[in-house]
């Protein structure tokens, strides 16, 4: 029946006929958006107290909960449940003024008690660092709360409001009344959508919360359907069974662009990818010579890689610091110049090329690695691909067991300082060696409360990372989603660096004519 059937071929055959499916779409309930999720939703994501510093839980947090401050369109630290905040001149306290008359989904009014309770209850990824540095949380009155620090900590707001779930507020009375486990089964928050039902591994259903302080959502019902297979997600979108499909890559994304009525929504997240040289501190290693590292940087054909793998939507970068991070320094644009790369190798005494050992990567991104390997071979750097399953890769990376070349990445929240702490300065989780001048800059900025001075220090730090070619940065990966014909505003790309639809109260459907 299908003598030469390929996924692409059949999709192509199908494309022309599919999206007269307005009629089928119309069968879907009015004012209802269904999002096909690429990952199975975990109940821990319903609870801000357990949020790890990764982006995925925020897919749901933006719907069900709200924070003291959070990233919003045009403002990476927008006041939300707090109307404003101030820092004392000595940098030892932060005073928050809460928004009055904010309601939780169960009708309770948010107070300073809830803010204190939510912070103290938080046990997610940044728990240790926050508890170490915060001396006390004091309730000044019903709508005022003070965080006292043990020492000045310029990154307090980064951790409290961006890199953790500590600043996302839950109702104290309700949690105490129902208990921790029951809270995950029937979460109550202050976000634009309230919980209706959850079937593990299948579906989460939410309903618009009319009392949301910012505005009542126009879409009355929101469903997240888990469809693990990418092709099936796209088929569901093409048939109008879902309105958005998260994570559609490669040739399937290409297919979306050819299907009438569907639109592609690439969003660039806070996840740069890079090649790291863990042996650059070993004088016997060829990677000790900065010219060899620069040769790698010049050998990578980022544009071709981008076109082939993410349809040109990823952002090519010369930095391991995400461009949407606070204190970001803009490096020169990366250049592809294989001739210059070979010249640099020759100057370094490696004119005939050399066997450079292994190229380690997370197996989920070995497609990037294969392109990079070919680029390196073209200039004479011969490496072998060593893909590892994700968890094993990051474990080996963090335990400093990998050698030669490492293709790394990070999507962790934070700012330029937190990124440097993990990946550049002495003692960082993924640091195999260090440069004293960079460590000094880092230590200075950590004590500096003057924002302008701190910015200058962090810019100098990033410039040093660039000049020493500690890394060969590749790109900030584009997360590609697809949107169906019913949706007017998908929310995708509204918040810089956030790859999921948000804020959800902005989602709208097209009005029918």
């Amino acid at each position: 029946m299908f003598p030469h059937t390929t996924r692409r071929g059949v999709l192509g055959l199908a494309a022309a006929s599919v999206l007269g499916s307005e009629a089928r779409s119309a069968a879907a309930a009015d004012s209802h958006i269904t999002i096909a999720s690429h990952v199975s939703l975990a109940p821990t994501w319903f609870d801000p107290a357990e949020t790890a510093g990764i982006i995925t839980p925020f897919l749901l947090m933006y719907a069900m909960h709200d924070a003291i401050a959070k990233a919003m369109p045009g403002n990476q630290m927008a006041p939300c449940l707090a109307e404003s905040w101030t820092t004392t001149p000595d940098g030892l306290a932060y005073d928050f003024v809460l928004r009055p008359d904010v309601k939780f989904h169960n009708g309770e009014t948010m107070t300073a008690d809830d803010v204190k309770f939510s912070f103290e209850r938080y046990r997610g990824a940044s728990h240790d660092v926050m508890k170490e540095r915060v001396a006390a949380v004091e309730i000044t009155d019903k709508l005022r709360v003070r965080f006292r620090l043990k020492a000045p900590w310029p990154d307090f707001m980064t951790f409290y409001a961006a890199a953790s779930g500590a600043g996302w507020i839950v109702p104290k009375k309700y949690v105490e009344q129902v208990g921790e486990d029951a809270f995950k089964k029937a979460p109550v928050g202050a976000g634009p959508y309230k919980f209706v039902s959850f079937t593990p591994g299948v579906e989460l259903v939410l309903e618009a919360f009319e009392g949301y302080w910012r505005k009542a959502p126009s879409v009355k019902r929101l469903s997240f359907r888990v469809i693990p297979d990418e092709s099936t997600r796209l088929a569901a979108l093409q048939r109008g069974e879902v309105d958005m499909a998260l994570s559609i890559r490669g040739e399937l994304a290409d297919e979306v662009t050819r299907t009438p009525g569907l639109s592609l929504k690439p969003t660039v997240g806070s996840a740069p990818y890079w090649i790291y040289f863990p042996e650059q501190w070993d004088p016997k290693s060829p990677w000790h010579d900065v010219r060899v590292r620069q040769a790698v940087n010049l050998a990578i054909d980022r544009e071709t890689m981008n076109e082939a793998l993410t349809l040109g939507h990823s952002h090519l970068t010369g930095s391991v610091f995400p461009e949407n991070f606070d204190f970001y320094w803009q490096p020169p644009a990366p250049v592809h110049d294989p001739a210059r790369a070979m010249q640099l190798l020759k100057e370094a005494g490696l004119g005939g090329g050399f066997d450079a050992g292994d190229y380690h990567c997370d197996s989920a991104y070995s497609n990037m690695a294969e392109v990079a390997l070919n680029n390196l071979r073209e200039v004479g750097i011969r490496v072998q691909l060593r893909p590892l399953e994700r968890a094993a890769f990051f474990k080996a990376y963090a335990e400093r067991k990998l050698k030669n070349l490492i293709q790394g990445a990070s999507g962790a929240f934070g700012n330029a300082a937190t990124r440097a702490e993990a990946f550049v300065v002495k003692g960082g989780t993924y640091v195999y060696g260090n440069y004293p001048d960079i460590d000094t800059l880092f230590a200075q900025q950590a004590r500096e409360m003057d924002r302008a001075k701190r910015t200058d220090l962090l810019h100098r730090l990033q410039q040093a990372v660039h000049e020493k070619t500690i890394y060969a940065p590749i790109w900030q990966l584009s997360f590609i989603s697809a949107v169906g014909p019913r949706v007017e505003q998908s929310g995708l790309g509204l918040i810089k660096g956030f790859v999921y639809p948000a804020p959800y109260e902005e989602l709208t459907l097209k009005t029918r004519t």
């Binding site: 359907r225 469809i227 990051f394």
Partner: protein, 306 residues
Amino acid sequence: MKQYIVRRIGYSFLSLFLLSLTIFLFVRLTGDPASLLVEPGASEADMQAIRVQFGLDQPLWVQYWHFIASFVSGDLGQSFYYRTPVLDLYFQRLPNSLILAATAMTFSLLIGIPSGILAAVRVGKFWDNAGKVFALMGLSLPSFWVGLVLILFFSVYLGWLPSSGSGTIWHLLMPAFALGWYFAAAHMRLTRSSMLEVLGSEYVKLARLKGLPEAMVIGKHAFKNALIPVITLAGINLVVMINVAVVVETVFAWPGIGRLLYEGITFRDFPIVQGVVVIGGAMIVMVNLFVDILYALIDPRIRLES
């Protein structure tokens, strides 16, 4: 007979014990689940807190003892990922798997048995060759590919059937076909070989010599006897369909036990993987035990030989 049954029950318990030990150790070879439950770069303290919370800091034998003791008392533990008792998750998914498996099995028997009989009766001719091609395709085409082609053709191109999910009979058709096709091919092959063996037996020759109509020879005398191994295989296949339709359930986003197992493996959710595998194993062991006892009751040679 009593001794025979006691021995078979003993073997069954031994099989279950070995299965539980094997799966318990194998899932732990895949690595530390704590590394998947925290973000890359989390501190060792965070990882340790996760290990303590789920009892993964205990010595292996203690963990195994807890697993077995809980299993015997009907508790399969709590899912690391879903924070829900595994038994609850299992029973949430079981009805979907039962419906899918029953439909796929009906389909596989309705296709496999008649085509197997036809191939045996017309051995070496067109229908036999057509059956061989059918069996070859059914056994060799990967079910994920079959599933995707079905989705693209019936769902996207023709728009007749929903692409994924569950809830109506229309959701059921494609996954049942994708799952049942492989088993239809297996049933066809076994029916054919079993029928060929029976058709060559003395009593069938005698029936023909007596001048019985061919339809009665095949339908009454040959088919009934040829059916026994097919039914035995179908029983075991049904258990396999219920518990390990991993690929089909994932492609069609069918919320069954196979997909639960897939999720358990993806997130290194040890309690889910252990629970699903041990329950599936227990079902197969019980079916085998039942069949062994039934055989012994029917055929005295078996119990006497044993």
